[in-house]
């Protein structure tokens, strides 16, 4: 009988900001443990939140075998890897005072704005082991700052946002980022003309412009001929500058280097699209076997659940150019907030952009009116794909900038 144990331990200090002041502090200490039993091609699962008795979990997982959930796949075995992404990040004790100081500085330097939302210090341990020699462990500790801002004269719920996720906390750098965005916000620009512009997304926002590719590369959708990309495996359908990975590297904060079935990719990456040519959709063991596709290690599972095919973290290969070089002397439209848009079934894309700033590649120049951006997925990843920068939008962020030529109009 094969037995597999998974766990997530989450410790978090969350500082809630209202009216540019600390409103509340929240501590979180949550542990979730799951146990899977594999026998005769079946899987039984059990799990618990909080303290647990492994014997009880095992009995529950054994009893769950009666549900007769098939799992005829070979378990990952004889693999032991431990990753600790620690850094000299701020301590839990000193974070509230640091945030308080930051907010005082922000109030002083940006008195025309009200800031709200959260600064989180997150410590996460994720583990997966089995009695066939698998032992995978990841520890990470990072800061997630997500401050919403609005002008004091505004009637909106919020007007903009400042966000980063990283393993560094530095008030000076955060203030610099806030000032850059807020100063640009105050400088209203009109859209000189409606038409094509280089539109810039942070790579953490890939789900906005690439949703059609992400859903189209889902192994089950792809393999069952339900995806517009289904018949295109091996074909060059996008720009030869467009290479897409499934990624779980140290830069992909919050994504463990192993999936829910213990699959670990070399370099913690798997290439799905190589220079515009579709190599493979992303898969778990089930759909890899069912559709005879490469196994990319994209399984996910609830702590007490059966592994299933998830939505993996994706990255586009970075170019050798900075944003400024990619812009090639043009001014880009940097998307801060774009909420609510989508693709049609034929691949046409349209979304409102609630906040966009003009960006010259090095600094934000000014705020644009609310815009609509539109295109088609084959153009966005094809002839209109400009590239991903080698530089980050801020010194605190691990994200890069994705540039695509798109149609831009005022709402």
């Amino acid at each position: 009988m094969l037995k597999e144990k998974s766990y997530i331990r989450n410790k978090e200090l969350s500082i809630n900001v209202e009216q540019t002041k600390i409103d509340s502090l929240r501590r979180k200490t949550i542990s979730k443990t799951g146990l899977r039993i594999y026998r005769n091609g079946l899987i039984g699962t059990a799990g618990t939140i909080g303290n647990y008795d492994e014997q009880v979990l095992e009995e529950q997982a054994l009893a769950a075998l009666h549900n007769r959930i098939p799992y005829p796949y070979e378990l990952t075995k004889d693999l032991s890897i431990s990753e600790r992404y620690t850094s000299c990040i701020i301590s839990e004790q000193s974070l509230p005072a640091e945030v308080e100081e930051l907010l005082e500085l922000v109030q002083r330097e940006q008195p025309g704005f009200i800031f709200s939302n959260r600064v989180n210090l997150i410590e996460q341990e994720t583990g997966l082991s089995n009695n066939a020699g698998l032992d995978l462990y990841e520890y990470d500790r990072y800061v997630e700052l997500n401050l919403l801002f609005k002008e004091t004269t505004s009637v909106n719920i919020y007007d903009g946002a400042v966000y980063f996720k990283g393993r560094q906390y530095d008030n000076e750098l955060i203030l610099k980022m806030i000032n850059q965005i807020c100063d640009a916000y105050k400088n209203k620009h009109d859209l000189p003309r409606e038409g094509r512009y280089p539109v810039i997304f942070e790579t953490g926002q890939l789900a906005i412009p690439l949703r059609k590719v992400i859903t189209g590369l889902h192994g089950e959708t792809f393999g069952s001929n339900s995806s517009p990309l289904s018949d295109r495996r091996g074909q060059q359908i996008f720009s030869d500058r467009f290479t897409l990975y499934q990624a779980s590297t140290s830069a992909d904060i919050g994504t463990p280097f192993f999936d829910a079935e213990g699959v670990v990719n070399e370099g913690y990456c798997y290439t799905l699209i190589e220079e515009g040519r579709i190599i493979t959709p992303y898969t778990n063991k089930k759909f890899s076997q069912k559709f005879d596709l490469p196994l990319t290690g994209a399984a996910t599972a609830e702590y007490d659940g059966v592994p299933t095919l998830g939505w993996p973290n994706l990255r586009i290969r970075e170019s050798e150019k900075t944003v400024k070089e990619l812009l090639g002397g043009r001014v880009g439209i940097y998307v801060i907030i774009a909420s609510g848009g989508d693709f049609t079934h034929t691949g046409d894309f349209s979304t409102p952009v609630q906040l966009a700033l003009f960006f010259d590649g090095e600094r934000f120049v000014g705020r644009l009116p609310e815009l609509n951006i539109s295109s088609n997925i084959f153009r966005m990843c094809g002839e209109d794909f400009i590239g991903v920068s080698k530089d980050s939008p801020s010194e605190l962020s691990l994200e890069k900038c994705l540039l695509i030529d798109m149609n831009v109009s005022k709402i």
Partner: protein, 444 residues
């Protein structure tokens, strides 16, 4: 039960959760699962700052209270603080689902129900893959406060969702059928509805035309009208966005005219369905709150904190998505009240427009959005060919003013995988409305 520290307001929310899940992909059983757990959320308030703790080890609640209290600064007048004085005291047990609990239905019966729908998908050759999911959850909450509240109450949902992928050569189409309820019987016997949904989807895939983008008069189905009410105005009525913000208070003054004179939008936690919230997560009893009444702002949604800040009454809308989070102001069941036109009269007034039948998602900032899935042209007052629409957008206030017709029959929907706000999602909510006609919407 707990020793609450002097000079501080403290409350404890314990959640006793039962959940189950069955999932089937294209006929293969993926998962059947039953989960039970307890978790707790502790709040301590010293009049200046709130201190929260979320723990999965419920045996250590007293220790958490004591630790949070050590960060706070006690004050003798805490009971008179405007937030604390507003918080209600209830000592009650209200277990609505005691004799109709999803935990009393075997996982085998839930599996039979879900697998019973599989044959419907097998009958349609254009379905290339599908995934059906059944979810349920019953939560018994206990709330204890330093003011004397001792509450025990429950809420419950069931959720059926089937995602269909259709393929006919190059044509691909995805659509979702979903139904929610507060009882198991609410999602059984849906075969005819599912078949009809599949047939409409196939017809859409075969015949949908490209859209000529522009401004149209748009008729919203009751489900889409519900999303519109929720996104366009519901979120604006959540008073946490107004705290300390004089400009917002001025803009959203009670009595201000914001829409069509027959327009009323209501939030009510007493309504049966997944938005049913007999008490909120501060122990406040549910209220029926008019957000807009006859076209004018009539009220807003409150927690104790926001009510104190705006010097208004609490409304029972402080909700947390689960024991890991603090309660914030959220909707319960939000709907547009019916008007006096028939559906036929509503459509008859449209020479050329768009009908939004089903939706994928919506959002609501200054510009709200609805991403429809199945949409149709309206020509000369009649439904015409289906059309591909990415997104429909509008400015909230302008759009409320552009409503010019409301039909006479209300339909309510329960969405278990419902609303997201900031970090807290998905919160079960109800919404709905009648058919709504809106002029001049931006359709892309």
């Amino acid at each position: 039960m707990f020793k609450f520290p002097d000079g501080l307001y403290t409350d404890v929310r314990i959640e006793n959760v039962y959940q189950s899940k069955v999932a089937v992909t294209s006929g293969d059983l993926d998962e059947t699962k039953v989960r039970s757990y307890r978790g707790a959320f502790v709040r301590v308030f010293d009049g200046e700052r709130w201190y929260y703790s979320s723990i999965s080890d419920v045996d250590n609640i007293q220790q958490e209270i004591d630790q949070l209290a050590s960060f706070a600064r006690p004050t003798t007048s805490i009971k008179d603080h405007p937030v604390v004085s507003r918080l209600q005291i209830h000592q009650n047990e209200a277990l609505k689902f005691k004799n109709d609990s999803v935990s009393d239905i075997s996982i085998e019966e839930k599996r039979r129900m879900l697998e019973g729908y599989s044959g419907i998908m097998d009958l349609e050759p254009l379905i290339s893959s599908w995934k059906s999911v059944y979810l349920d959850k019953r939560v018994i909450k206990e709330i204890y406060s330093s003011k004397g509240t001792q509450l025990r109450f429950d809420s419950q949902y069931t959720w059926l969702q089937i995602l269909f992928n259709f393929a006919a050569g190059e044509d691909k189409f995805m659509e979702i059928y979903a139904r929610g309820s507060d009882v198991f019987s609410g999602i059984t016997d849906k075969g005819a509805e599912i078949s009809d949904h599949i047939n409409r989807s196939v017809e859409f895939m075969h015949n949908a035309q490209p859209l000529k983008p522009g401004r149209y008069t748009v008729v919203l189905s009751p489900a889409v009208a519900g999303v519109f009410a929720h996104e366009s105005f519901g979120h604006k009525s959540e008073a946490d966005f107004m705290i300390g913000d004089e400009r917002m208070k001025q803009e959203w003054q009670i009595g201000k005219k914001v829409g069509f004179e027959s327009l009323s939008i209501i939030d009510d936690g007493n309504i049966a369905g997944v938005g049913y919230t007999p008490y909120d997560d501060e122990g406040t009893r549910a209220e029926k709150t008019y957000l807009i009444r006859d076209g004018k702002i009539a009220g807003r949604l409150h927690s104790g904190r926001t009510a104190a800040s705006l010097d208004e009454e609490i409304t029972g809308n402080a909700r947390a998505v689960n024991f890991e989070y603090e309660p914030i102001v959220r909707m319960t069941t939000t709907y547009i009240a019916p008007g006096n036109m028939t559906k036929e009269e509503l459509f008859a007034g449209v020479k050329e427009g768009i009908y939004l039948d089903t939706y994928m998602h919506g959002s609501g900032l200054s510009t709200f959005t609805i991403a429809p899935n199945m949409a149709y042209y309206i020509k000369d007052g009649k439904l015409a060919e289906p059309v591909h629409v990415s997104v429909v957008t509008g400015n909230v206030l302008e759009t409320l003013g552009d409503i010019d017709g409301i039909s006479d029959t209300l339909e309510l929907y329960s969405v278990a995988e419902g609303c997201g706000k900031k970090e807290q999602r998905p919160l079960p909510v109800g919404f709905g409305g009648p058919y709504i006609r809106v002029r001049n919407m931006n359709v892309r």
